[in-house]
Amino acid sequence: MSTSSASEAREIGNRIVIAGIASIVAILALTAVMLFINLPDANAFNARVERLFVENDNLTGNAEIKLLEILAGSGTAFSDTLASYRFVIFVLLVFATALLIAAVAFLVLLIAMNRRMGRIERQGIEVNSLTISRDQKAVYLNDFEFKLTDAAIETLSVLAEARMDDEVLTGAEIEAVISGRSAADCDEAAGATRIKRLRDTLGNQMMSELLVKNIARKGYVLAIDKSVIRMN
């Protein structure tokens, strides 16, 4: 799979997430609108009582009329209650919207995290930050501090600078940068020795293999993203 198709897939994923969140908001907004439209308004009960009064010619006695008025009054009180219910339901709808959006966002985050975890598991090490501290003669990989010799620091700095320029250095070129001579005058083996020393100083052979990569017939490069490199 090429890089472009991977980023395409990510774009499609993003679009699906946005569409999902938009549809959640749309559905709940529609529900809210229906809620406000469909609940009877305060006058519905009064209109019923009024119709009852008009349609029945024998409902003309004083007592009957008083009863009808009481009926309308209690209906109005009930519709006030309904209005407060409606508000409560609306607040709950807003909460539901927020929760659903959060759920979708967390789901997406979880998937992204899982993918990243998978990548880390395959790669063995994920360097989030590489800080070279010349004055303390140390290199900080993520949160780990490694004490290095002067020579190893030099080698690492050269590799880091080359990485930031997207360059791959041969052993001779590394030796040339450090010693200040031209690459033609330098021995490939001298650079390779420097790389070997750097790896040895970093200790764990396997871990430093992951950090300082050797590309056949091209040279050496730091196997990390260049944006994480910092020098001080």
């Binding site: 009064n46 009582v49 009024e50 009064f53 008009v54 010619d57 003309t60 006695g61 004083n62 009329i65 009808l68 008025e69 309308a72 009054g73 109005t76």
Partner: protein
Amino acid sequence: MKQLFFSSLLLLASATVAQAACYADYKAKQDAPLRLHYGVVEVRGDCSVASAERQLRDALADNGWQLLNVLGVFDDTGLDERKDSAGEYFLRF
């Protein structure tokens, strides 16, 4: 000529009698809060539901009431049986 005069007089008299004895009963309401009333009113002029409606609509509106409908028109004989029901709105407007 004389006959014509008498007959017209008779017509006039009967009309006056009918006018004097014409009443209508109606239903009216007030909004917010809903209040209802049943009333009896004396109809001036033409003794019909339509003229009673015309006359009542304005009279009730001036007092803050809205006419719902006029049930019918009747003469003196129907007055007593409606007096109780109409209560304070008996011949008020």
